[in-house]
Symmetry: C2
Subunit: 198 residues, 2 copies
């Protein structure tokens, strides 16, 4: 039998760190959050955060509950023919969303974002730092942040319409046909001349 | 002083009817819902529903809390040059969303849809019956329902990204520039040849 007064500190501390991290990141954003403040809020030593999660960046990814292999995804999209970047992006998004665990986490984040401002801040911070920033930087187009934020609107909308609201026939369309519908849209947003840059 | 045992029946009955209607429509969908069942659930006479709301259709619109003048919108979009239907649709959507009251109601419906299955059913039913159906019918394109459901994904995503998650710089972009970004996408979804129809 478990000894009283000795709860499983490992799991409890890990959960406390994740909860404090989610709170700090959503309240202050990534840049203004510190591991020191997370440690204080969680009631643990700062060294324990490094022990469990490594860096501040890895703590952020864990707090967002994003699929841990997402860092492989962007290089895959950004490497290759510029004329088909929209199709490649659509394909990795669909591949991710057709995976049940990744879909649950991503739609969970979108669901929460629509009702909890803190979750919306997390999603925004995540998209800005992990997706919009890197893609915009690699893209070499004018107005890169605007382009990628509009790309974000189509991807978030696809998640809502296909997986949450289940609008038909989009909800039942084979993934490859969704790629063919959405890919040229993402391509246009990413690389075509913008009216507003006139 | 108010007499006890005599609550203001008008308001109370109206609210009871709306709550029962929202419940029935979201549980059974529009076609399978009956005014008789709504009346039974609300504990009122069926004639009272007609008195307050008129038809089943008007009760549905009231239960969704959609801006009552939305019926003027679609004819505006569908009348005119087919080559600019995407731009016209983007413009009415943005005009609607820049109005504070309509925006609150529409984003409220989208927010609720992402966490409550009943609200998602209402939103789906509303889009299908009031938007997708009529536009698809008027469009004369192949695969009209598919086209309009993909249009729905971009519009829902715009609402999420611009007004709920507040992704920048899209969130601060002047409405007319949003129309210029989104319009050609809606145009392509509505009228261009689809890869899947090969």
């Amino acid at each position: 039998m478990a000894r009283t007064g000795r709860p499983p500190g490992g799991t409890r501390n890990r959960e406390a760190i994740l909860a404090a991290a989610a709170h700090q990141f959503s309240k202050l954003g990534y840049d203004r959050s510190s591991l020191r403040a997370v440690a204080t809020e969680a009631g643990v030593d700062q060294a324990l955060i490094a022990h469990y999660f490594g860096s501040k960046h890895q703590l952020f990814i864990a707090a967002v509950e994003f699929p841990p292999d997402h860092e492989k995804i962007l290089p895959e999209v950004l490497t290759g023919d510029r004329a088909s970047i929209g199709e490649r992006l659509a394909r990795v998004v669909l591949t991710l969303l057709e995976d049940p665990l990744a879909r649950r986490r991503l739609t969970g984040l979108v669901r929460a974002s629509s009702s909890e401002p803190e979750a919306a801040h997390m999603l925004r911070e995540f998209l800005m730092r992990e997706v919009i920033g890197p893609v915009a930087k690699a893209l070499g187009s004018d107005e890169p942040e605007l382009r990628v934020s509009v790309v974000g609107s189509q991807i978030i909308g696809l998640m809502m319409a296909r997986y949450i609201v289940e609008l038909e026939p989009l909800a039942s369309l084979p993934a490859e046909l969704v790629v063919e519908m959405i890919g040229p849209t993402l391509q246009r947003y990413l690389t075509h001349p913008l009216p507003l840059t006139d």
